[in-house]
Each structure stands twice: as C-alpha cells, then as structure tokens.
Amino acid sequence: MSSISPQEIKEEFFKSKMGLAGIAILGTLILISIITMIAIPVETFQQWNNPGNWISYPKVAVPIWVNFLNTEKIPEHSILESPNIQTNSNGEISLTSHQFGINFNYNDFPNDFIYLFSSEYVGSPLLQMSVIRPDGIKLELISMSLPHSNIKTIHSERIFSTDDVIKKNLSLQSDNFSFNLDRLSAEDIVFSKTQTNEPLKGNYIFSIDTYSIKSETRMIESKLIIGGKAFGIMGTDELRRDLAVGLLWGTPLALFIGLVVSIASVVAGLLYGVYAGYKGKKTDETMMRFNDVIYALPALPFLIILSVTISNSIFVMVGFLMIFGWVGIAKVARSMSLQIKTRGYVEAANMMGQKDSKIVLKHIIPQLLPYAFASIAISVPAAITTEAGLSFLGLGDPSFPTWGQILHDANTFGAASRGLWWWIMPPGVMIAITGLAFVFIGNALDAIVNPKLKR
C-alpha cells in the first residue's frame, strides 16, 4: 500500500482508455435517467402492472425499426386521436361526422381495429361507421343506435372489429370481393384487395357519423386504433405494455440500487474493518468472528427468504443486499489498517493522546480511500445483478419494476422459446452495459491502486 495523491489518481485515470469508456457509458446512463424522470412521470410507470392502463396497445408487437431492415413491411400499430370533425345541422336532424385518415402501406393485415368513443347526448342518436378504401369502394361497417336516455347522459363504448354485426354487414357487401369471405375476420376483408385476399395499400378513411334528432350529440372522446404488429421503439410484451417505458425507467432504478448498495456496504465495511484492525486484541477477535458468521451465511437463499417473509419493497431490498455486501470489504480493510497502524505518524498521534475515532477517521481512512473507490465501482455490478436475479425469480417490487422483472415476465410467458427477442435482449443488454460501465471504472482504478497487476 503506497500512498498516491488524489491528483495522481486523477491523472492516471484519465490516461486509461478503459476508465474513460466506463465514465462515458455511465454518463450516458445518467443522462438517460434524467431524461426519463423528466419525460415519463413516475405515476405512469407505477401503472406498469395495471393491465387497464395498456389496453389500447398491441400484444407482443415488434419494435417499429424492424420495418427499416425488412422489405416486408409489418403493419404499425396506430392510435388515431384527432379526427377531422364536421357538424351539419339540417332542421331537426343534426349530423356529427368524425373522419380518420390512415395511410396503410404494409405487406400484412392489421391485427384488428377498435373505435373508442364517449359521447354526450339526449334521446337516442344513431351511429354509423363506414370506411372508404383507396380503390373508392365504401364499406358499411356498423349502424347502431345508442342507448335511449331522456336526460343528458354520457355514454362510452368500444366497437371492436371482432363484433359479429360488422362481420354480418361485410358479408352482405360480399359482391365487391371475388373470393369467399366466410372464414375471414373483418380487418382481413376491409384491408383486402378485391381480387385476391392480399393487403391493399393506400389511404383509407374511416368515418363515424352520428345522427341525432332535435339536439346535438357531442363527442367527448373519439379514438380509432388500428391494431398493428409493430409498436414503439422497443415493442410491447404479452400484457400489451410498452417495453420502452419499462426499460427507460429501469435505468435510474438500477443505478440507484447499485450505487446505494455498494456505497453503503463499502463505507460500513471500511469503518468496521479499520476499527477492528486498529483496536486489535479482543475487540478485533470478536468483530472478526461476527464477520465470519455473516460471511458464511449463504446469501441468495437468505435474500429469497427475507424478501418473501419480510417485504419485497425495493428500499428494504437495498437494505438486505447491504447486509451481505460489507463483509469482504471489512476483511481487506482490517488487514490494511493492521499495516497502516504500525506507521510512525499513527503511533505518534496515538502517543499524543488523540482519540481513537479521530485517528481512525483522520489518519487511517484517508489512506484507504483509493481502495474504497475502486471497491465501490467493482461491487456495483454484483448488486445490480443480484437484484435483477431476485426480480427474475419474481420476488421484486411490483410497484417499481426493474429490468430483472421484465425478464421474469419474459420467462413466464416463454419468450425465449417463442422467439420474442425484443423482450429478452434489451433488458439483459442494459444490465450488462450498466455493469460494464462500473467494471471498467473499477478496473481502471484498481490498476492504479494496485500497480502490481498492471505491468
């Protein structure tokens, strides 16, 4: 243990490519975290396990950028929220017309389409939904009256393409198509060429007309969802969740877990070990015996039992991880302080009658700081992977899902054997990159602190 000044460490560190790479990755991750925390509110993220929040998203959709790599274009999931609104009043009857235009340019049929609305009305308005195709054919989809009401009322409904009425209406218009419509679903007919059952590319206009008598119907919400097979930059999972949200929010969480656990365990281990080594004799003996006991506890089984029986809150889990984190550091810190203790200035300070706490804090700990920083960086990946492992087993905090939990869900739904690569790859890559950043920084520091390894 030679003493190196902080200035030297800094200089050496910035010479090491590995250290710089680590700092660069870490900087990017911190940037991602900050942007995420500003852009995506925590409340949205805490709805992760609430299926109702994700209902308008598609199931297991691939990321949209796949379309740039393939020639076969996979239909993108689109949620159309701003229709072209026209109102027409002709004496007693008033008409509200909502039109959604969509440019359909893919080589496959969409999964489904859903019209979602809520309207305010009196009486019993009539709602008609039709679609004008690129080839000019107009297909009537549904014609229904909203439930009757004498007073002003608000009614919300979803019209699904799987609705039997739509199917029936389409089969009434089967003259337009030169093939049998019997076994096809509504979206396969609406978006099909007339000659063969292949997707017809071009502009489609879905129009929803509401007729009401004597009073006007006001649409409060009006949304058309064309269910595709590609969505977002990261795709979605089996439960329709946007994986980008989970992955982005996982970054600050992983950094939080890794840094808090490793800083706290290193500080605790350092103080414990240095104190034991400095005091020596009986104190050292008892403290190291206790250390041995914790060291010999099998960590993972215990973490599992603790999280099952006590709590799986992310903050409590951080505490559990600390219990097992400080032991190794304490051992090394003790042996280092045994060496430093014999140095002249420590003995001098001791003879001058300085307090033990002061000697430990002022004279011994500063000598160990470079080592402490290196061990903080090196122990971060272990903390992150352990937490990910626990979450992977399904023991994580459901209100703050981490990358491990995304992988847990992927494993539960058999993503690996179904080939859903976008569900498995990104979370693991993120765990690995985060770990790598700290391993790089730690190794670069370690090489400076222990010059023997470098050579």
Binding site: V293, A296, P298, L300, L393, A410, G419, G428, A432, G435
Partner: protein, 349 residues
C-alpha cells in the same frame, strides 16, 4: 494447527445453528398458521367422513364445542398450544433438523411420489452436484491453463483477449445468457431441448443418457460465463508470483520460460487457486437457484424456487439447511487449505 481447526469447526457449527435459527424465526409464524390450518382441515374431514359423530349431537353449539376440543387436543399433542417462538419448540425443531428430519412437504413431492422432504432433497441433490461440479471442474481446468498462458505472455493478444473477456463476461448475468442460449439453440436452431428436465422416467435405462443430453446447454452456459473470470484470477496470481525474486533468479540461471511458468510459478500459485476452487464449488450451489430456474434443471435450485413459489415451508427450511451445510463445508475446507498453505494464518497474527 489443531487449535486452528478446532476454532474453525466451532465457528462453522455456530454459523450453522445461527442460520437455522434465523430461518426458523423468519418462517416460523407462517409455519405455525399452516400447521394449525392443516389440523383444523384434518379434523373437519374426519368428521364429515363419519356422519355418525355429527348425528350424536343435539345442538349445533355442542357439536362445535366437540370439534374445537378435538382440534385443541391435537394442538397439544403436537405442542402447538405454545407459541412457535417458545424455546422448547424452537429447540425441538432445530434438533429434528440437525438429524435431517425435515418432516413432510406441504405441496411438493419427489419424482417417486414421496412427500418426505428428506427424500425430495436427496433425489434432487445429486443432479445439482452433477451439473455444477462438472461445470466448476471444466471452468477451473480451462481457467488455469488460459490464466497461466496469459501470465507467461503478459500484454500479448491472448492475455488481452482473456482479460477483456473476463471483464465483459463478469457483468452478464448467467441466467440471462441462459435465456439467450435457449432462444438460440432451442428456438432458432433446434439442437438442444429448452427444458432441461428429461422427459422419460428415471427408471428407464436411457435416463442417464437423456439427462446428460439435457445437461449440455446449461453446462455450456455456465462454463462460458465462468471461465473468463477464473482465467483472469489465475493470471493475476501468476503475474504477482512471476515478479518474485526466486522466479527472476530462475530466469537468470536460464531455465526455459515454459518450465518456469507451468511448474514453478503454477506450483506457487496453487494455494490460493485451490482455496478459491473449494469456495466456488460450494458457492455455485447457491447460485444454482436462478440458473436451474431458467433451464428447468430438476435439481436443488429449482426445488428451492418451487418451494418459495408455493411457500412449502418444510422444503424451504430443509433446502436452506442442506445448502448452508454444503456452503459451510466448502468454506471450512477452503479455510483449512489456506491455513495449511499459509502458516501465518493459523498462528493468528
């Protein structure tokens, strides 16, 4: 030396007891509730099976009182009338566990159909040992050779590759690589089965072969992730030793490099390597929990995971105990080896 062994052994036994005590205190209250519910269920079932008992009572309250009496009697026989944390019950439970009497599992059974926790554990244990011991041995062989090779040519391509591979592989979780391997070799290229549980009964003569076939994918994964850091470790030990004076002296005499590396330096690096081998062998058993869950390997790890999922407390306690015992044996052996190789440790300076 004797004193050293004795203190270590006493510490280890102490740790074992503490582990047991912590486990029992963590799951004790749950266990109590489950046991009591079991008894209530049992009594009610017996009474419904025998309608004559119910008929012999004139009023409902009388009947309920009789049922309650029956339940209380059984509580007393099993000692459940005292709280689970009473010293008597904890002591008795610990004594039974020490003798490997873990009682009966609540939900899980062994492949042969026995619900005795001891049977279940001793059926799964050999498979875990088979997989992880094989993996550790392969890892250490590759690691030692690669480590020695890179230590003999510090700064060479081999050395740099080994070091960077070690650093990169150490930050990947094994189980995630496992999922990727399943994705690659079971889904994309259908070479190996995705589930590592053999699909034929253990009595079949082809069982061993099938087991080995199913073992390949997990084995490759564990070795792939493990050998890098081993090689790096061995390399660092060796580099340290290669700078020692006696090696320098040998070099100046003119003994060839290969001989120095493989016989003299490796021999001196042996103590820490052997120590770490003992540690990682026992440590791998704990890490088995997640890896086995991914590959569905029918060993202790998966058993533990299943037991946690359905909260099968006797199995949890039993497996924790067995895992701890193995872990402690590993640490104990490592300690002894360390003390044997390095005399400073046992004199206690």
């Amino acid at each position: 030396m004797k004193r050293y062994v004795a203190t270590r052994a006493v510490t280890m036994f102490g740790v074992l007891m503490i582990t047991l005590l912590i486990t029992i205190s963590l799951v004790g209250s749950n266990m109590d509730v489950i046991l009591k519910q079991g008894i209530v269920f049992q009594v009610r079932a017996e009474i419904t099976e025998n309608p004559a008992i119910a008929d012999s009572f004139s009023s409902v309250s009388e009947f309920e009182e009789f049922v309650q009496n029956q339940i209380n009697q059984r509580y007393e026989i099993l000692g459940l009338d005292e709280p689970w944390y009473s010293p008597q019950r904890v002591g008795f439970t610990m004594y039974k566990i020490l003798l490997l009497d873990f009682g009966h599992a609540t939900f899980l059974t062994s492949d042969a159909g026995s619900s005795d926790v001891k049977d279940i554990i001793f059926e799964k244990l050999p498979r875990t040992i088979l997989l992880f011991t094989t993996a550790t041995i392969i890892i250490s062989i590759i690691g030692i050779f690669l480590g020695a090779l890179s230590a003999s040519k510090v700064g060479s391509i081999v050395d740099r590759l080994t070091s960077s591979f070690a650093i990169i592989s150490s930050s990947f979780p094994v189980w995630w690589i496992g999922m990727l391997m399943i994705f690659l070799f079971s889904f994309t290229y259908q070479i190996f089965p995705a589930r590592a549980t053999p699909d034929i009964p253990p009595s079949d003569p082809g069982y061993i072969l099938s087991l080995l076939y199913h073992m390949t994918l997990p084995l490759i994964t564990i070795v792939m992730i493990g050998f890098g850091s081993w090689a790096y470790l061995v390399r660092n030990f060796m580099v340290g030793i290669m700078q020692e004076d006696f090696i320098m002296a040998k070099k100046t005499i003119g003994i060839n490099q290969k001989k120095i590396v493989y016989s003299h330096a490796l021999k001196n690096a042996a103590p820490p390597i052997v120590t770490i081998l003992a540690l990682s062998l026992s440590g791998s058993l704990g890490g088995a929990i997640i890896t086995e869950a991914v590959f569905d390997w029918p060993g202790m790890g998966r058993l533990y995971f299943e037991a946690i999922t359905v909260m099968d407390l006797p199995v949890i306690i039993g497996s924790t105990y067995i895992l701890t015992v193995f872990f402690l044996i590993g640490i104990f052996i490592a300690d002894l080896l360390y003390g044997y190789f390095d005399p400073r440790v046992r004199t206690g300076t």
